[in-house]
């Protein structure tokens, strides 16, 4: 066994130097000879039949390449789960940003006018814009009932708990859409030639998703479609499914024009037309004993999926499984539903449903605390899941997680009790109110249930002719540290210096399908496979006698070079094997939902200005258990970045909708946190030293998105003494809540929602 020298150290980011010198090449930095620029003509109404398309005057249309649905060589859909989303509208539009036709021209500046000059006449159909309208089914816009997907999770005897309850606590919580707002907008370049087929370069998370979509759309065999990820300037889920659409559009234009075509969205188009976080509404009804123990409850969760199915079933699944939080529920029933509206499809965004349902759960815990007259800290402590107990899907907690101890540590770091007392005195007067809020949560790593089994990811590790090691994966780098961490794992496994290991650019002709880069699965699932493929490389060299049982880096390099000289390309592949004794029932949503959970306690301190109703986060403690921390600098960066996005989700980022269309698709009026807005974000890791993943890693990327919003809103409630049940919470929302709370107070004396 080699000593572990690279894993758990902050190895420098593999592509870091290119990034800090400006050499890194993103999609818009690439220009091909003879390249055209593409643009998309979109629907401008939420729902209707296309009657007529007119190419207006003043444009030399002969100079434009025009593509409509009729030009599609294969199937007119973007292959994903249900294949219900068309690549280009064919007679009917179902949301106000639906692509109708495509234009390409050598001069990118010629495109905006041409797009404007295409006029489309419609017969409008009645649209549906909200969860409530969709549920009423007065207008059916999708399937038989506007419902994309439902799940039911049941554990224990829910119907029997209500009569045993000392309190029944009810609440309704909602979360808004949120834009991923990666700083590099979506973009792709496609090139086609009859012999080699289609090549697409793009800013994207999942090369093989795009590959699959293009094969169906362009009617091309696997070998005639090549997808290459270029340096990707942020993604956060926002480049999981949408790049298939964009790549499809660029490809159709390239196939028709026989010239390379680049489409890069400007910020406005990216914000209004591409996916956002699903808006949600969650209702809780909970039976509680007078000592604070939860006896059971019902959770009804609905997400707004927009006009097409896309990833909504999967987002809903994760939302449902996380809906009970890190608590022990003797009995629970979760009914989850994704509904259709005439808005652009909502999609993947870091957290993937969990931020929505955990916001509700963690707000509801504070409401329960108030009902039973316990502190937010004690109510959580009493109900925390403990090793040996089961989650709401009846997955037994097998690792020695001690949430109570983590809570103590987080409270200590945040000086919670002292500040609570101090604020109680300070809040009696003055122009500001201060508060402390806690959120406890978990996040499952990897695909849900049998997902990893179906993915059956494959990873390669190559020994090169130069004696170096190359990691071959379709897992992509978009800031999280994929390149670095996977190289660290390979170097660690082989006992080589970190600099001896490199990673291939994700290119479907070069790398096997290691699955999509989503679901906090890369370090844990793909990392394990990298280790295993690296061991395969070593075994081949030792078995052939080229390498001894122990070896120096130079001996490894030489053995590698000799092997390549003698046998040619030298690769070792590893395929995902599901662990034995994993039980998951897809029908009843029961069993081991995730290979591992990460756990966290976040504490927020807020200051509310009573003159402006603005909230600032004064301090933030983020304590989590994510298994082994493979690279402390990168891991800490993931947490801080996620917390900042969570602060935006809670306090700033509001999508203003009108008729299914985002009205504030600009950075000027959709506000994300700036350097002046973020508090000190203090990150602490617990490490249980478990056996998950490569060298003990669990998932980390999404976790920090789940906790900030409830911790912050709980802190605002602590400061103001009024319940606040939705995010984003802008100053005007706080003003309204204060006004309606004082109205309620004059109306009645009983607190809302508590029996």
């Amino acid at each position: 066994m080699k000593s572990e020298r690279i894993v758990a150290l902050s190895a420098p980011r593999k592509e870091g130097r290119d990034k800090v010198t400006g050499r890194a090449r993103y999609i818009d930095d690439i220009t091909l000879p003879e390249m055209l620029y593409g643009a998309t003509v979109r629907s401008r109404i939420p729902r209707g039949k296309i009657k007529k398309i007119t190419f207006g005057p003043g444009i030399n249309w002969d100079k434009f390449v025009v593509v409509t649905a009729k030009d599609i060589p294969g199937k007119n859909y973007i292959a994903l789960i249900e294949n219900d989303q068309l690549c280009l509208a064919d007679g009917i539009v179902n949301h106000p940003e639906e692509p109708v036709l495509l234009l390409a021209h050598p001069d990118r500046h010629a495109l905006p006018k041409a797009v404007e000059a295409v006029s489309i006449e419609y017969d409008s159909l009645p649209p549906v814009f909200t969860i409530e309208e969709s549920e009423r089914q007065s207008e059916i816009i999708w399937g038989a009932d506007n419902i994309f997907k439902t799940y039911l999770i049941q554990k224990g005897d829910v119907d029997g708990i209500w009569e045993k309850a000392d309190y029944i606590v009810e609440g309704e919580y909602s979360t808004g859409a949120q834009e991923q707002l990666y700083i590099e907008t979506n973009g792709a370049i496609a090139a086609f030639d009859a012999e080699r087929g289609l090549t697409v370069w793009g800013s994207l998370q999942c090369p093989y998703y795009v590959h699959k979509a293009l094969m169906a759309l362009c009617n091309l065999p696997e070998t005639k479609v090549r997808v290459v990820q270029t340096e990707t300037g942020g993604a956060f889920g926002g480049k999981e499914e949408y790049p298939s659409m964009l790549a499809a559009h660029a490809s159709l234009l390239a196939m028709k024009s026989r010239r390379p075509v680049k489409i890069v969205y400007d910020r406005a188009e990216d914000m209004v037309a591409t996916t956002k976080r699903h808006p949600s509404r969650t209702r809780h009804r909970t039976a509680v004993r007078k000592d604070g123990k939860i006896l059971g409850g019902e959770i009804e969760l609905v997400i707004d999926g927009g006009a097409y199915v896309t990833l909504s079933p999967v987002v809903l699944s994760r939302a449902a499984i996380h809906a009970g939080g890190p608590y022990e529920w003797p009995a629970i029933r979760v009914r989850a539903k994704a509904v259709a509206t005439n808005a652009p499809p909502h999609g993947a965004f870091r957290g993937f449903g969990a931020p929505q349902s955990l916001f509700a759960m963690e707000r509801h815990m504070d409401r329960i605390a108030r009902a039973v007259n316990l502190s937010p800290v004690e109510i959580r402590r009493i109900n925390f899941l403990k090793p040996g107990q089961t989650t709401i899907t009846e997955q037994t907690i097998n690792e020695p997680v001690d949430l109570g101890k983590m809570l103590d540590r987080a409270l200590e770091h945040s000086s919670y009790e002292a500040k609570k007392q101090w604020f109680a005195r300070e809040n009696e007067s003055g122009a500001v109110r201060k508060g402390m809020g806690v959120a406890a949560f978990l996040h499952g790593a990897g695909f849900t249930g049998s997902g990893e089994r179906y993915l059956a990811s494959v990873v390669g590790v190559e020994g090169t002719a130069e004696g170096r090691v190359r990691v071959l994966v379709s897992s992509t780098e978009f800031g999280q540290g994929t390149n670095t961490v996977l190289c660290q794992i390979a170097a660690e496994t082989l006992g080589l210096p970190y600099d001896d290991v490199e990673i291939a650019q994700p290119d479907t002709t070069e790398v096997p399908n290691s699955g999509p880069t989503v679901a906090s699965r890369t370090a844990m699932v793909v990392g394990s496979l990298v280790a295993s493929a690296a061991r395969g490389l070593e075994q081949t060299l030792t078995a052939s006698g080229k390498l001894g049982k122990t070896y120096s880096a130079e001996e490894f390099r030489r053995a590698c070079r000799e092997h390549v000289a003698a046998h040619g390309r030298f690769r070792s592949l590893a395929r995902y094997e599901p662990p034995a004794n994993i039980y998951w029932d897809d029908q009843n949503y029961r069993g081991e939902a995730y290979a591992a959970f990460a756990w966290a306690i976040y504490v927020a301190e807020v200051t509310v200005d009573l003159a402006t109703y603005s909230v600032s986060v004064a301090d933030f403690v983020a304590l989590q258990e994510v298994g082994r921390v493979l690279n402390p600098v990168l891991a800490r960066g993931q947490i801080i970045g996620g917390v900042a996005q969570g602060i935006g989700f809670a306090l700033y980022e509001k999508v203003e909708w009108r008729d299914g269309c985002m009205q504030n698709g600009q950075m000027t009026n959709y506000i994300m946190p700036t350097s002046a807005d973020v508090p000190p974000i203090r990150v602490f890791f617990e490490e249980l030293g478990n056996t998950h993943g490569a060298y003990g890693a669990k998932g980390i990327g999404e976790l920090p998105m789940d906790g900030p919003a409830p911790a912050i809103v709980n802190a605002i409630e602590d400061a103001l003494g009024i319940p606040l049940d939705s995010v984003p919470l802008l100053p005007e929302n706080i003003f309204d809540a204060i006004a309606s709370a004082s109205n309620r107070e004059s109306d009645a004396r009983s607190p809302t929602g508590v029996r």
Binding site: R13, H109, L181, Y182, G233, Q480, G481, T674, V678
Partner: protein, 163 residues
């Protein structure tokens, strides 16, 4: 928008220490001229409306959003982009500390952020944490939550380069 109502003209400016003359429409964005005509793609477009700072360059000592600068306005000026920082000791120190501290994740805001940091340290070689927050407030980063960027700038300042 970029080309209406005018004919191309010659614009002379100094870019990264070298005199350059470009033929461009007067209202063409400096950003596009740098990226497309001069091939300096290290300057990024994030929003096109001066909100995100990804296109930051230093023009005559001032930090500007190159998406908001019509190229004619840059006539005779001295422009420094990320590609022109190669030998600047302060910039090199920042590039190292960004790497060490985790100041770059996806990297798309990084060139602009480093130029903002160079500009800040030129003005205030020993910045306080508030100076750093203010100095970078025009440059949005969606990945890092800024904290490790602050640490990188503070670390570079501590190294006290070029003083």
């Amino acid at each position: 928008m970029t080309k209406t109502g005018a004919t191309p003209c010659d614009v002379s400016l100094i870019v990264n220490g070298e005199p350059r003359t470009v033929r461009a429409y007067p209202m063409e964005r400096l950003l596009d001229v740098l990226r497309q005509q001069l091939g300096l793609t290290g300057t990024k477009e994030g929003c096109g409306e001066g909100e995100c700072g990804a296109c930051s360059v230093i023009m005559d000592g001032a930090l500007v959003d190159s998406c908001l600068v019509p190229v004619l306005q840059a006539q005779g000026s001295n422009v420094v982009t990320i590609e022109g920082l190669g030998k600047d000791a302060r910039a090199c120190a920042l590039q190292e500390t960004f790497l060490e501290c985790g100041g770059a994740q996806c990297g798309i805001c990084t060139p602009g952020m480093i130029l903002a940091a160079v500009h800040l340290l030129n003005e205030k070689p020993e910045p306080t944490m508030d100076d750093i927050r203010d100095g970078l407030a025009g440059n949005l980063c969606r990945c890092t939550g800024y904290v490790q960027i602050f640490e990188a700038v503070a670390a570079a300042a501590r190294r006290g380069v070029a003083r």
